[in-house]
Amino acid sequence: MNNPNTLVQLINVEQRYSSGRRTFTAVENVNFTMAEGEFVALLGPSGCGKSTLLRIITGLQKPSSGRVLYRGQPLTGVNPHATIVFQTFALFPWFSVLENVEIALKARGLPPAVRLPRAMELIDRVGLDGFESAYPRELSGGMRQKVGFARAMAVEPELLCLDEPFSALDVLSAESLRSDLIELWLEGKIPTKAILMVTHNIEEAIMLADRIIVMDKGPGRIVADLSVGLPYPRQRNTSAFTALVDRVYALLAGQTQAEHIELGSAPGEPGATRPLPQVSINNLTGLLEHLSEQEKGHADIYRLPERLGVDSDELLRLIEAAELLGFVHVSQGDVALTPLGDTFADASILARKNIFAVRIRRLPIFKWLITLLRASESRSLGWDVVRAALELEFPPDEAERQLDTIVDWGRYAEVLAYDDDKALITLEPEAGVLEKTGT
């Protein structure tokens, strides 16, 4: 604790926010320290609170409870020794490249004679010389993020924070920017003492960081603190690398639990309601079809992103959805089709819809909505009514997302109909009942 090299220390940090009378927990019980010389990655699926944590560490946000220390001192206000490279670049569109870098220095009161050469030098170092007078809208995404890096490094921060800095870039730009960053960091060309990077990309974290703090959601919390210990430059296809990727996937994908634990409870009932992962049905069937082509319907999760062309965040959501519907079984970083999932993958379009309908009717959140719709006049309810009811369980924007997913799945399964003009959700007549009377 009294290590003079300790930069950041979080003690029992918790972030809650309230909506109406309900309180939701974004992150809970977070404890970790970061020392000089470390490159730490905060890794986790979206919604796990990793960005919140970054904002708490930089002082942009005050935690609801717990303590944030910087070099042993409690942090008050924005941390003057930290800067951020933003996912969306956050460049000022009305300033040129040079001005964007310069303002960071000017705001600290540096006179033109000092700040101009320094800004020019930083622009030079990230490889943007010649573009000083260009405006951000004239640059490609990769070049914009270079300005973002130059601006953040110009003020010579002790702690450089990266908030998903490569996720808005195309694959090639991201790759080249990553190696630029590692080079600057390893060769000590920047006076930065430590780097904290938030990412949902598992490979990226292992590629760059010495230490990975793995977070999970519902509520956001730290589930593992891994040391990477691989020499730079790191190769993706070495066994040590893939072993680590596999291990992190195993951590994040978890283990399929007994059904009543997986499903959770209905909204308004005691116990937590399991939020539906936001996935498109098309991608879900794509995953299942891919698995059915594998031997015994079995695959290593870490190999899937490349084969399916989805990122790790999306893949984890797809697997979660398939698991929730009983189509796959997850265990120790592997995913396997269940007999039901296998049937689904082989079935015709109509049969798939039937299987899907039967499965979603088992989910407590659908059971709850169907009961509500049955009880209502004309078996319909307004979007806003259902959303308000969901807000008893979820924060407002999450309730909106949940309802989006519910309606999307329900429409596919022909369990629900939705009229956009009237914003009305209607229960479709049950296909099973019709079939029995019809044949």
């Binding site: 924005v78 670049f89 405006y135």
Partner: protein
Amino acid sequence: MPQRLTFGTPPSRRFGYGDLFVLLAIAGVLYLGLRFALTAPGEVRGPEIRLTWTALPGYAALSIGRMAAAYALSFLFTIVYGYVAAYNRRAEMVMMPLLDVLQSVPILSFLPVVLLSLSALLPEGVAAEFAAIVLIFTSQVWNMTFAWYQSLTTISNDLREASAIFRFNRWLRLKWLELPFGAISLIWNSMMSWAGGWFFLMAAESYTVGERDFRLPGLGSFLQAAAGQGDLQALFLGIGALVLVVVALDQLVWRPLLAWADRFKLEMVEDQTPPTSWFYDLLSDSRLIQRLGASLADWNERLDAWLIHRLKPLGMPETQSSQQWTLLSVGMIAALAAVVGYGGLLAGRMLLEVTPAQWLELGVGLGATFLRVAVAMAIALAWTIPVGVAIGSNQRLARWLQPVVQIAASVPATALFPAFLLIFLNLPNGLNIAAIVLMLTGTQWYLLFNVIAGALAIPQDLKHTAALLHLKPLARWRTLTLPALFPYIVTGAITASGGAWNASIVAEYTEFGGQVRSVIGIGAIISHATASGQYALLLAATLAMILAVITINRLLWRRLYVLAEERFRME
């Protein structure tokens, strides 16, 4: 650039306590004004207006001066009011409903009360001068304030976080983040405010009622005097001068500003046709201007350095939950509510003096004015939609005619009113016709401009589809043209309707060539009550008109606007 001009319209709300509070406050302020008016001089002598062309530059300068003074006031008010409302949640709760109501109040209905109360407090000429500036200010300020508030509240979170992490203080945040972010919206709204301001300036400069002549030397009174004396040459000269001033301001001030402000646009893609201005190009090439710019940059650096050492860096703006209700703020709001309630009570007591017969007269007057507005709107819609579509469907024609329509739209209807009187007053029912023509002039150009913009914005592929489907003309109008135009028509109509109600104040009661003429209508009642000193009736009529316009806005225009945004937007 097919541009849809919009007044900032906040999301649809129901009448709430906020609105009640605001209406009570307005009633209280009007009452206070009328209390002062009781001691207003019974006779006010106006200025002598010279109808020679040599007098015109002076009058034009005076008119521009009034506009500029009111605009400067508006700008200052906008920045401060919008800033406080955007950053202080509690103030926002009162300030936004207030803005919302004031935005739809027919400003001209305030003119008599403002003039009477100021003339009781200040010397004659000064009072009218002040009243004109106050009136123009109230016509210019709300949409600007709303635009500024809206841009402050929509600044993206990442730019806010960047400003905080790079340690901007309040000054730097305003200069580097907030003003640039709002610049384009502020300039567009300033242009609209300035255009709208002429309407009220003309009315204020030529306002005469009973024994009180509140006229001011300026273009408005020049036109009125010219028409009154039947001096056609002077009339045309005056209108020419007005058009010249409007066009010159557009070319020398607004276009260069727009061209300059192009750098503040937020889109991350390059614009194919950025706004251009010959005058701006001329200025930026000038050596003198460049040297001036360099020395300004020097001063700017010093000012920044001075302020950076004095103001602390800011964090992120506080969120709702972290702002606590303190005893002090509760007390302040209670005190404010008490004052407003008391003012409303006094106003209510004054309203008791209004007899049932007068209330009936008010109802009839409101109905008559409503009919006139409706007729003017119907005529305007009937011709602007087909003509606008015809122009808008022809790109070449549109490029030619759009600036012409813009200039026509920028000539304030109130400036032409004396001319209308000259033409129509001798016809049977002449004032009625003149009133409707005035309302029409105030509305139709704006509508036409919007319809052309809408027709230009219909996507080419939809037009091709309609052609491929061999839609008959009627079906084509029903399935493509009208739905596509709907948002543009609604936006145009909202402003047009507001303008028409305002016009009723000047149009329904007039003294022309020494004769008083009036038609039945709420505007006539307001003017008549002012002339005869029936202050209770004046208060009742002003409040009735405000209430009527706000109700129509909420019940009709707001809903259409929301419908247009949700169903018929092309984007």
